[in-house]
């Protein structure tokens, strides 16, 4: 069948209009497994946060300092998660990373974790309120908090390299466990993540 010029032109316009609309297809939403590794932009994401915290804490708790401490004191150490400095080029939710670290430590069962500076403030407020309003049987005493033996601090650094649609992202997470009483560094951990992000110049 031979198409007329008119039909050809109309077909071409229709195809182009459809192609134009292709790029703005409607948004779809679906629920996925929270543990699934999904990389969209190549930026630091929940998977990085989870993997790094798991691996680093596993390394930390498998190091000799823990055995030495337990041998010396006959008790599990108490740790407080300090601050993680974000020295990268991305807005990384360091709070999420800290929570991942705390969870990994608590779930290991080998260390105890005390509330952070901000959390303590809220707990103390509640305790102060109890002193006035709670019954004597349920009242929690002031000054009975457990002091942390170690503080975990760290920072995230980033180096980028890019050229013509190719991008290399290198993240380095450094964690340090410091003995609060002596300032001695008990453990130093480092985890590196390298990502290659390729982007094509053209699409249909």
């Amino acid at each position: 069948m031979k198409l007329s010029v008119q039909a050809k032109l109309l077909s071409l316009m229709a195809v182009l209009a459809l192609a134009g609309a292709w790029g703005c297809a409607t948004r779809t939403i679906s629920r996925i497994d929270p543990g699934a590794q999904v990389d969209l932009s190549g930026d630091w994401n929940d998977t990085d946060s989870h993997l790094v915290s798991q691996e680093m804490i596993s390394d930390c708790l498998g190091s000799p300092w823990l055995v030495n401490y337990v041998k010396k004191t006959s008790k599990n150490p108490t740790i407080i998660a300090g601050s993680i400095l974000n020295k990268s080029m991305e807005h990384i939710a360091t709070d999420v990373f800290l929570m991942d670290i705390e969870r990994a430590m608590i779930n290991s069962g080998t260390v105890e974790v005390v509330a952070s500076n901000v959390e303590r403030g809220e707990v103390r407020q509640e305790k102060a309120d109890q002193q006035v309003n709670a019954s004597p049987e349920t009242l929690k005493k002031m000054g009975m908090e457990e002091g942390a033996d170690f503080m975990l601090i760290g920072q995230i650094n980033q180096i980028n390299d890019s050229e013509e649609g190719k991008q290399l992202k290198y993240y380095q997470v450094d964690l340090t466990l410091v003995n609060i009483e002596t300032n001695v560094k008990a453990w130093l951990g480092q985890k590196k993540i390298k990502k290659y992000i390729g982007q094509g110049k053209f699409q249909p």
Partner: protein, 489 residues
């Protein structure tokens, strides 16, 4: 068909209507009823066409609202402009208007989306490009450019500082330096545009790094800014902010960089005392004024007539009027098609502001320095883009002529239809981030503790006050206060 004569005109749609009206007045005299029926049809169509405003025309109410200082009205007017969710330019304007409204988080959200979209747009859609060849550049997504994107971290830093999120402001500064890298060994290969905006951006990030104790990053930024301003000053008279050498020198001392500490006093003999004096500075003001030049559409209409033979006009004149020139009324040509070619040109939006002054509470005046001449940068960017724009215009014109010719060969009705489509879709791409200021000046000083207000004056070239603004300060702020002041005049 052969085209015997082409009449070319360069004028607006309005004057085109006048031209058509004139032709219609002579409708009965010339006796070319068939040709002019087509004109009547097209005349009606062009009346409709005039209603299709370009982007810069659509943005006029917003700029007008800002000119009166009514940011709320500008935001309201902006919300009336329809835009797709993935329109980068819409995100940029939105982020900027939110910043002006003091909605810092929304501004950052819009700018964040804009940065992500900018990266996505690295990939070019072939179908979009093909479609633009049959319509106009407006059907291509707005891709922005490096100098516009460099202003995102500039505004996001302000937003984060206002939100008290200094670590996030530092992230923006690091990101800015990474995305707009400077290779000091390649200064001679850098364009004037790049030198100008990168010099300012580096000084800006350097000030932030220094204020947050990030000496290493501050050193890199100050060094880049110093070398860029120095190069720009030598080659095209780019003025260097007077505080920069001192900032650079002081950071070099902190970092114990002996070479730089030794070399700088050779150019600036009093640099040591200036650096020590400036160390106490706790206020930096960025004074934005005017609007950047915008893009305006240029329309070229070419009514193209067809004749059966090339000498038809001359023969008609001879046969009809017997050589009597006074009896001649019009040419008996039939309209073949309208050719419309549209492309943008840069149009200045001159600001009255030529300089700024800061008045401390004790009445001491302080002269500002021009940090970034955005009007010049925008002008240079347009010149850089112009080659591509004209090439695309040429290719588009040829493509449209191709489709028209195919249609005309089939039938005159289809030809007219395609001609209308071609003319209607041809529109200059006037999109740009036109709400940006024409210039950014800065002033650095120290204010005594407890100072809760300073005054800024925007002055014209004669030193007359264009606008005066009181700038509230935080009297209890311990560190550097980082403030932006906008004058729209």
């Amino acid at each position: 068909m052969s085209i015997g004569r082409v009449l070319s005109f360069k004028f607006s749609v309005r004057s085109y209507r006048m031209f058509l009206s004139h032709r219609l007045k002579n409708f009965h005299n010339c006796g070319l009823r068939t040709a002019n029926l087509k004109l009547v049809w097209l005349f009606t169509f062009f009346l409709f066409l005039e209603g299709c405003a370009t982007y810069s025309q659509k943005m006029l109410p917003i700029r007008d609202s800002l000119l009166t200082g009514d940011v709320t009205l500008a935001v309201q007017n902006f919300k009336k402009i329809p835009a797709s969710k993935d329109d980068l330019l819409h995100m940029l304007q939105e982020g900027y208007l939110d910043n002006l409204s003091g909605d810092w988080q929304s501004s950052n959200d819009a700018f964040d989306a804009a940065e992500k979209r900018y990266e996505e747009l690295y990939t070019i859609s072939i179908s979009n490009e093909a479609f633009s060849l049959l319509t106009s550049d407006n059907s291509r997504p707005y891709r922005s450019n490096e100098q516009e994107m460099a202003l995102i971290p500039y505004y996001r830093i302000f937003n984060y500082v206002q939100l008290g999120k200094y670590p996030d402001a530092l992230v923006e500064a690091r990101k800015a330096n990474d995305k707009h890298k400077v290779d000091l060994s390649q200064l001679d290969k850098m364009s004037e545009k790049d030198i100008r905006f990168k010099a300012f951006l580096n000084y800006y990030t350097g000030l932030l790094f220094a204020s947050q104790g990030e000496s290493n990053d501050a050193m890199v930024s100050f060094r880049n800014a110093f070398k860029l301003y120095q190069w720009g000053n030598t080659h095209f008279g780019l003025p260097m902010p007077r505080w920069l050498p001192g900032d650079y020198y002081r950071t070099a001392i902190n970092m114990d960089l002996k070479d730089e500490v030794r070399l700088l006093p050779k150019t600036y003999p009093d640099i040591a005392s200036r650096a020590a004096q400036d160390q106490r500075q706790n206020l930096v003001l960025f004074l934005e004024s005017g609007f950047v030049p915008y893009r305006e559409g240029v329309d070229i209409f070419l009514p193209i007539y067809k004749t059966d033979k090339n000498d038809e006009a001359a023969r008609y004149y001879r046969d009809t009027y017997s050589g009597n020139i006074y009896a001649y009324q019009t040419k008996p040509a039939k309209l073949d098609q309208f050719l419309r070619i549209s492309f943008p040109k840069i149009a200045p939006f001159p600001s009255a502001v030529a300089s700024c002054q800061l008045f401390l509470p004790n009445g001491t005046p302080l002269r500002s320095e021009n940090g970034l001449d955005l009007a010049r940068v925008t002008d240079l960017q347009f010149k850089q883009d112009l080659g591509d724009i004209l090439l695309r215009t040429l290719i588009r014109t040829l493509a449209k002529q191709g489709t028209l010719k195919s249609a005309q060969d089939k039938s005159s009705g289809l030809g007219a239809l395609v001609n209308i489509f071609n003319v209607a879709t041809e529109q200059a791409d006037t999109r740009s981030w036109l709400l940006l200021p024409e210039r950014i000046d800065l002033v650095k000083t120290s204010v005594p503790a407890g100072t809760n207000q300073v005054t800024v004056r925007f002055l014209d070239s004669n030193g007359m006050v264009v606008e005066q603004k009181s700038v509230p300060l935080n009297p209890s702020a311990g560190g550097l206060q980082w403030i932006s002041v906008r004058c729209f005049k």
